[in-house]
């Protein structure tokens, strides 16, 4: 027939695959991750490039504004701020990581127990967590610090970790409850999936992604806690250099109008925190995936 007028029936046509990955890259915190990496590497390898001993008290050069010799200046005790930043970063970031580890461990255990427990038990645990959450953490930290004696890096991490697990455990508990009742876990159970199989193949992947956000935020909170406590004089003593304890000399700095003593550690601190927040927010589940009905 003319012009293709004949019945050919069903003909296989290939639909071009739809690529969705186009816009995924946008919005990833590349800069934040790079800055964090830079800071971490700098803190770890500072033995190589930092010449001055950060705890050497060079009383002849105390309170010197940034210049060519002392890039970031010196503090009122004559210590070189540039080297203090890197060595102090080790302590600050270290406390952040260790206390997050403690908090996460506690949160995972308690959240998982509460999530798997009977309704009654769950209610009791969550009520207790609520009460703990409503106590000002500053008070708790001071009390705990007092119990543990003189503050050191480990005891600080322990204290911060022990006061920071509550909100995370609530999130984990909700997550566990949700996944526990989800279809694919039931399906896996019916197929004969044991507890560990389900835990490893189904719970863990889901759970990790939602907990990652909380973990990152917990690092942030821990760093803030450490610096605040050290600043107020309840945390690390001046001899142990951290970004927080560097700032505990702020009163003298204000008196001597030594802006560099406040601004420089602060800028490092805030940059780290901003980068961590960006990273955390990107891990957070997107609420805006669907489109607004308004």
């Amino acid at each position: 027939m003319r012009d293709g007028f004949r019945v050919v029936g069903i003909r296989q046509t290939t639909e071009p695959p739809v690529s969705v990955s186009g816009s995924r890259r946008q919005g990833k915190p590349v800069v934040s991750v790079l800055v964090l990496l830079l800071l971490a590497v700098g803190c770890l390898t500072c033995d190589v490039f930092v010449q001055r001993n950060p705890s050497y008290l060079d009383l002849a050069h105390s309170c010197v504004a940034p210049n060519r010799e002392f890039v970031f200046g010196t503090d009122t005790m004559g210590r070189d701020i540039f080297s203090m930043i890197w060595y102090g970063g080790r302590i600050s970031l270290g406390i952040g990581l260790v206390s997050t580890f403690i908090a996460t461990a506690m949160a995972v255990v308690l959240g998982a127990v509460s999530g798997c427990a009977s309704r009654r038990m769950d209610g009791v645990i969550m009520r207790a967590v609520d009460i703990l959450l409503s106590v000002p953490s500053l008070l708790v930290v001071i009390l705990l610090q007092a119990v543990l004696g003189k503050a050191g890096v480990l005891s600080m991490s322990l204290v911060i970790g022990m006061t920071g697990w509550m909100s995370m455990s609530k999130v984990i508990r909700t997550e566990v409850r949700q996944i526990k009742n989800s279809g694919y876990v039931t399906a896996s159970r019916c197929m004969g999936g044991g507890f560990f199989h389900i835990l490893w193949h189904h719970l863990a992947p889901d759970f990790l992604s939602s907990v990652m956000f909380m973990v990152i935020m917990s690092v942030r909170t821990a760093i803030v806690s450490e610096s605040t406590l050290s600043f107020m004089g309840i945390g690390l003593p001046v001899e142990i250099i951290s970004w927080g304890s560097m700032l505990s000399l702020a009163e003298q700095a204000l008196a001597g109008r030594a802006w560099w003593m406040i601004l420089i550690p602060g800028i490092f601190l805030v940059t780290t925190l901003v980068c961590l927040t960006n990273l955390g927010n990107c891990l957070r589940r997107r609420v805006t995936a669907r489109h607004s009905n308004l």
């Binding site: 409503s134 953490s137 605040t228 700032l247 109008r257 009905n293 308004l294």
Partner: protein, 335 residues
Amino acid sequence: MISKRHLEVLMHKILFLFGSVFVLSVLVFYVSRLAPGDPLVSYYGERAEKMSPEEREWAENKLGLNDSIHVQYIRWLQNAFQGDFGISYKYKMDVTEVIGGRIGNTLILGGIGFVLIFVLALALGILCAWQEDKLADRVICRIGTITSCIPEFWLSLAGILIFATALRWLPSSGAYSIGKENSLADRVWHLILPLSVVVLSHLWYYAYMIRNRLLEEVRAEYVLLARMKGLCRRQVLFGHCLRNAMPAYFSLMALSVPHVLGGTYIVETVFSYPGIGTLTYESARYQDYNLLMLLSLLTGMIVISCNMLAQAVSERIDPRLRMDDRRNYEEVDRI
């Protein structure tokens, strides 16, 4: 319309409040006394370290510290019921007087800060949700994230450095200039910097929360039905979405009381602002037991009653909460 049921509920809540305060008092009392540290130092200062054992015993006897801890607690409880909370070791005054002289300052700072935070956060959150993904929203989000990352104490320091030391626009410490205790203008003048720090450091957390909650609500299907009725966007946002988001916001407000209060304490310390924040931290640090007890109980009571209030309010607004107890707390991740 107060029925018997309402009264019952009210009684129940009051009982719960007293129960929790009692538990809290036991906890604080035992923990603080079991913690290492020398309360005599806060009473006698340096002198305590040079005391002979006899003198020490005499001093401890005088302060009632050498009885067993249970006896001490019962004595404290008995006295407390008669309105006597003991004396502060440091100030050598009745603790109620010590606190009474300062609590006003904290209430002004914390209270105004709290109201400002929540009004501004609500406004900002609504603005961002309304302008979702437009320029205004993006700029506000970016700035907000950064401000929320700055620790309170450092923001205070930076504020002092810029506005007090460098520019000399605002005073750097205290609640009033000496000799001007009664001048309102002077007090406001001193309040500006601490208040801005309290507000700025908390604002974005709550604004972001309300923004996200609203964005979630705006994606619900009931929005379509509401618009189908002929309501305009503004009416839907305020009449439906905001209404549904408010219960969560109220419970968050209640949960945030300790955080704002804690923030106030830090700010008070940096600005040497005479409030109970500085007092709390000193009393805990230097084993000023009686003062610490009363302060923790006060804080605890504020926290618990705010919690209950918020629960009651959200129950009135949101029938879902009455039907089942699926309360949905936002994660609270602050110091």
